[in-house]
Symmetry: C2
Subunit: 349 residues, 2 copies
Amino acid sequence: MAAQTKGPGGKQPTINDVAALAGVSKKTVSRVINRSEFLTDKTRAAVEKAIEQLGFVPNPQARALAFRRNFLIALLHDNPNAQTVLNFQRGVLDAIKDSDLALLVRPVDRGSDKLLDDVRTFLEKQRPIGAMLLPPISENDDLAALCEDLGVRYVRVGSAPLDDAKHCISSNDREVVAEAVRRLIALGHRRIGFVRGPVGFRSAAEREEGFREALAEAGLDLPPAFNAPGNYRYTAGIEAGEALLSLAAPPTAIFCSNDEMAAGVMSVAHSKGIKVPEQLSIIGFDDSPTATHIWPALSTVRWPIHEMGVRAAQTLVPDFLAPGTKVAEGAVLASTFVERQSVAPPATK
Amino acid sequence: MAAQTKGPGGKQPTINDVAALAGVSKKTVSRVINRSEFLTDKTRAAVEKAIEQLGFVPNPQARALAFRRNFLIALLHDNPNAQTVLNFQRGVLDAIKDSDLALLVRPVDRGSDKLLDDVRTFLEKQRPIGAMLLPPISENDDLAALCEDLGVRYVRVGSAPLDDAKHCISSNDREVVAEAVRRLIALGHRRIGFVRGPVGFRSAAEREEGFREALAEAGLDLPPAFNAPGNYRYTAGIEAGEALLSLAAPPTAIFCSNDEMAAGVMSVAHSKGIKVPEQLSIIGFDDSPTATHIWPALSTVRWPIHEMGVRAAQTLVPDFLAPGTKVAEGAVLASTFVERQSVAPPATK
DNA sequence: TTGTAAGCGTTATCAC
DNA sequence: GTGATAACGCTTACAA
């Protein structure tokens, strides 16, 4: 590790320095760098020794130019949940750890009418090998088309399959939400409220479907008054809570399409003196830090987000991973229902 | 914007294509790209027209190679607070938005004994122009020395000046904490507990100093039993809460060195039936999402983290920013105390 | 299995 | 002001 960092001229050593020191041609050094098979063990050893001695590190810009391809992958996101983005990032980085790849991060503004131009400019400038799209922008078909158009590989991460399996990593929101709601029903809840996600989000639609599915199975229905609008923000949870808990006959349980809104509903319950979970059960979605930081701790659905990051990177650039990397199969990863203290049987009248 | 994306041969147009179309040499095109002053307006216009027509985007790898420098800056972090990291990222990206720079993200493991080697390998491989270090790893002097050694510029972000102003962006934790605690004292609190940050963290030391400063001013002291250890994690808040609130004469207010621990203390108060803020005031630090998601909403200190990201990037690469960018001065940014519902006068006996 | 020559797309040098 | 020509550090032909 303590090899000298400077080459002959006081600068970074180049492939030529290595070749000279090892007594071979630069092409041979190149072969060693690129793990060519056609090399004598002896030659390889000599080159590796020289590399070690000089502390040579191949210049990625030069490689990128010669290869006509960059060793960058990009993460595009406009995700309101920081923890999700960061966990995903970690997953990606774990996946590319021993490869030559680096990760470029690009937050975008999904509301901007320049979204497509922004992304186009970014992709044209950086020319990453591929891009990973996190929800909600992963749901934007134009973005996927743009990547296709620019010859940039892409993988979309979502709550349900959005595309071909080779372009998509998803969780099974619908199923797990149904499972969570079945749990409420099994506990005896019959009056169950729902706080929706934002209009037009696939994840919101999936979660609502799962919710309705479980209700339908049990022969329950969702009165319009129990179906509150939301947008994944805390304030929407407050509004939904106010609406649902002011009803003459309020629900005994509320499923919220994400944790933030669940936290809002929880706050309203507290300020109205409604005991959670004794008088009201609440379930969220995401298993964000908020879920465990509020009181009582929130039952929620845990997204396998780190694993999705790993999988997304592996799907995007299977051919660039460190040799010997085990690539997992399957584009749909299972979320899990996590039961905490915010859920209990309904109060008996 | 809708210029054709393909050059003559169905590939990306190069500087040669532009030169040919504009009827000038490639060097002239290069001058236009690099905003050289020595150009006729007419020549410039002709070249720009050709660029527009072809949809030419300079290849960053080729530029990087020729310049012997790439256009990347790196963000190194091992921050437990995802929101902080992401807000900082946004700030950095806002700062470099119209420049040619891109952001590389690198989470590291501060606990690993290979930390230095990891970072060295990363910097040698990617050779970013500079690196930004977020706390707590920004407090590691070896890391700063490594950057210096490798000729990579660096900026350290911290709770207090850690280095020369040209290598450091910091907030004024000590002062703001003192201000927050003064507020508690002004409300009438005399029995004020403290939950510390992790041992060895500069931010923890700064916050504790600020706390003690305010107490000293008012002639109050901090009994050992009121001084609880912590590590910035929720569970530490739980433990501290259990300890402080089980005392025969518990504090009437508790300052926690971050929001997560404050959330823990809040949970303990709830489960013990202690009313916040009527019977117990709580203050946190960070203004993380948790602060507003818990109930009652937490008084806390807001870090100007986005602005610190902007400033860090500007300090790191003032010479690479888009021309005309206004660069703010000053390496110390002010945090602000945000008062919410978790603070009130102590209960009168 | 290894080496030679040419080229990747840009900028630097130094003439004109 | 502008343009030939040689870098930049590496890889891909293709040859040996």
